[in-house]
Every structure is written in structure tokens, then in C-alpha cells.
Symmetry: C2
Subunit: 268 residues, 2 copies
């Protein structure tokens, strides 16, 4: 099987280029994903893949994924390596580029799991993606992004290693929606746990509620006053000596690891 | 107090520009550090700071650090914001740029602590820096970089949040030196612990030796055969469901957290 070669004036390129920006992703409801491993994850996820570009000189593994994409209903094109290089958000293109639809979840889907991750204004897309990846690994079944970097930004998608494709997640950017989500978590029976650099319950002594949302604050500013005021537990990771803080993706992952192994059969 | 304005033809600019590359850092034995927080850490570390550029319109905090740099024996210049923008490795310059000497440590200094971090071919400078930052936070008193990204690369320095300034660390790039370092660790009484994505002792059941070096392998390739063959313990972090792996900086930080809280008074 062979695929048509994508010409330089094809109108799909306009869509592809628009996905580098948040406004473009919002307008089309789509995002771009790159590279063998990420696209393998994408094609085994429930997301709808619309388009796949495959380098014309690609090897067996890339072609296998291209065929899988056809069976999943995607349009597939060959593209020359220069074009892929231009379209890539990474330093070097990895020979495969896909466009998929940003999934939409209900509040029930996002908040039903006993462990939910809440990212409040995390600015670095790499941190957002890494936190989703760790959340998936430690049994967090939903995620909320309150402002901050878009989890469907190219770097966030890469860092999430597929987690953004399978975890029910929602991004809120309006202040009123963000405020309302704290009430929704409470109604869903989720206690709010926040991470504090200093002064919280030491992680080694913390007892986590049976159903809990872990909220991580922005890299430098930390947890907002609003979140602090409704938190039922504030946890601090004990650090040694003169060390001030951990990277937020590391701190959050550590907390999720500990919360993930807490028996979750406790009273809700 | 005021400082001379650095002209566009000053020969210090040649040095500064050379530090963006590994070869330039090697030739001069210096590295560059940027930003308020990182430079505050630098000036409170034992490293020798040679040069500090401060934005001409800088505020009180920047000027305070500039005066501290003078007392620490550094040359200090004002520089205009455009020049700082050009010299910065970050997207936006942060108004302060320093040049300091790369520290040289003895084997004894690097290997004397009961917890040592070994990074084997970690390619991403952000991961290297983040791992050093976590190592410092969890009581790891020395670090070895076997190939991989340079811990004095600008992005690694930024991610390490000052850890690279205070942790005795050594970077080896020659294969013979790398091979020999395993014998040095053994002689220093350090047992080698490696992280494996699958099949190792589950982290929840691992008993860590009193003196141990934690070796983390490259992002995709994992631990080398040589390291595997001399490891006395291979640990795996249990992950849920379909999740394949964690980010290496997250996985390494989690292992360091667990190793850091193991009582280290055990038999050596």
C-alpha cells in the first residue's frame, strides 16, 4: 500500500500550522502529535485521529502505524522530510506527525476516580505533560488544568507520553469556572490536598483521604489563596539542609506516588 | 555605587558567547548562570564568580547581588537589556548574567557520602539539572555524570536551582574513565543500585544498602549492560495499568526520596 504525497499547497498544511498556537487548537478542536512512540500511544487510545503524515522514506515501523491509522479512519499522506522538519515542534522531526481531535469529557468522567490531579497555573508545558504521565502511572483517573499551559501544546503532549490521550481531563480558563470547580470537587466527595513548600504536614506523616484531589500550584507563586482556603490537608515534602524546593513535576509525582499507594478503601 | 557599562566590543563578550558550547566551557573552565534566584544561589556557594553583568535599569534586588559579587571578587558591569537578551540562553533574559569557574572535586569528595547519584548518558539537560536538584534535596552528597548532557550547560544549571554549585560532582566522558569509575565506587564501599523499568525488586519491598550509588540510565535506552552487570540491586517503581514508564527525572527523584529516608545507620 502506498499513500499520496502531500503537496506544498495542500490546505491541510494550513490546519497543521495553526495547531502550534492555542488559538488554532481552539478553533479547530484538534492538536498535533509527533514521533513513533507518541503516535503509537495515540493510535491505541480512543481519540479520533484525522490525519497522519509519514515521511516518504519511512521504515517498517512507521508504515505499520500509517496502515493502522488508515484502519482507524485517518487520512494518510506521505510527506518529504523537509516539510516534516518545518512542521515539527521538536528540534528534529521524527518522521511521523498526526492530527487528532481534542477529547471532551463530562465532569463525571473527570471527577469520578478516587484520585484526581489538579494543576493550578503550571506554566511550563513540559511540567504539565510530565505530571499527567506520572498521574496515569500512579492511578490518578482524572485531571483538571486551571489556567497555565495547555495540555495539548506540542511539548506537553510529548512529555505526557500518551497520558493526555487516555486520562479524562478538562482545562478551565475563565475565573468563574475555576472558582466553581472547587464546589464541584466537594460535591463529588473529593477532599482537596495541596502541596506546600513549607509548613504543611510532613509527607511521611500525612494520612490521605479515601477520595482526594491533589492540587499543585504554579512553579514560583505556589498554591492560590482560594485553593488554600478550601484545602483539607496541606502536605510538605521534607527536604534536607539548605535546599529550598523541588521541581513542581518532581514534587507532584512524589505526592501522587504516596497517594497512589495509600489504601483507597478507606471511608469516603 | 555604580558600575562601568560593558561596551559591545569588550573582549569579555567573546568569553561569554563561548560558554554556550561545551567546547567553550572546557577551554575556559567557566560556565554561565542567569537569573535572580540562580545567581543568588551562586553567590552563596563556594564557587569563584569571575564576572557579573547586570541590566543597567535593574532594580534593588539585582543591585544588591551586584554589590555582593564585587565583595566576592567578581568584575561587575552594567549591560543594556538588548545585549543581555542576546547573551541569554533563555527565551527572555532575566537581567543578571554571571560567569563562574567550573568546580573541580577529588574522588574522595564525590564518593564519600553514603548516597551518591550516577547519571549514565542522560541526554536532556533539563533532566540532568532536575535530578541534581532532587539529589541535593534528599541528601545525596555527590554526583557522577557518565557522558550525557553537561551539568554546566545553561539549561541544566537553570534546572538544578543551585544544586550544581554545591554538590561535589564529576563528569566523565572517556570510556576508560567510565569503566574505571565502577571500581572506584566499589572501593569507596558504595553498592550500586540501578533503576529498571520492568522486572526489578519493587520499590515498596527494596531494602537499600547503607552506602549506595543510585545509577540512572539514559531516557530511552536505559541502564548499560556494564552497569547492570555490577549492580547489587535493581529496583522497579510499580506502575498502574497500561503505563509504560515515568520521566527519568521523576523516577530518579522518587528513588532518591526513598533511599534518602532509609535509615543510613545500617551496617556499611
Amino acid at each position: 500500500m502506498t499513500f499520496p504525497l502531500l503537496g506544498r499547497h495542500n490546505d491541510r498544511l494550513k490546519l497543521l500550522r495553526s495547531l502550534a498556537k492555542g488559538s488554532g487548537r481552539e478553533a479547530s478542536g484538534c492538536f498535533a502529535a509527533e514521533g513513533l512512540r507518541v503516535i503509537r500511544e495515540l493510535l491505541s487510545s480512543p481519540l479520533r485521529v484525522r490525519l497522519l503524515l509519514c515521511e516518504a522514506q519511512a521504515g517498517g515501523e512507521e508504515l505499520e502505524l500509517a496502515h493502522l491509522a488508515v484502519r482507524r479512519g485517518a487520512e494518510v499522506f506521505f510527506a518529504d522530510s523537509q516539510l516534516l522538519e518545518q512542521l515539527s515542534s521538536a528540534k528534529t522531526s521524527q518522521g511521523l506527525l498526526a492530527v487528532a481531535e481534542i477529547p471532551k469529557y463530562t465532569w463525571d468522567e473527570v471527577l469520578s476516580c478516587p484520585r484526581v490531579l489538579v494543576l493550578e497555573g503550571i506554566q511550563d508545558p513540559g511540567n504539565v505533560g510530565t505530571l499527567l504521565r506520572s498521574g496515569r502511572a500512579f492511578g490518578f483517573g482524572g485531571a483538571l488544568c486551571l489556567g497555565g499551559a495547555d495540555p495539548f501544546n506540542a511539548r506537553a503532549v510529548r512529555s505526557s507520553a500518551g497520558a493526555a490521550f487516555v486520562m479524562p481531563l478538562m482545562r478551565l480558563s475563565e475565573p468563574a469556572d475555576i472558582e466553581a470547580c472547587f464546589g464541584r470537587m466537594r460535591s463529588a466527595g473529593l477532599a482537596l490536598v495541596t502541596a506546600a513548600a513549607h509548613g504543611g504536614t510532613p509527607l511521611t506523616q500525612a494520612v490521605f483521604p479515601g477520595r482526594a484531589a491533589l492540587l499543585l500550584g504554579a512553579e514560583v507563586r505556589g498554591v492560590s489563596r482560594m485553593a488554600s482556603s478550601v484545602a483539607s490537608l496541606e502536605v510538605t515534602i521534607p527536604l534536607q539542609g539548605s535546599c529550598e524546593s523541588l521541581n513542581v513535576a518532581v514534587a507532584g509525582s512524589l505526592l501522587m506516588y504516596e497517594m497512589g499507594r495509600t489504601p483507597r478503601s478507606e471511608a469516603v
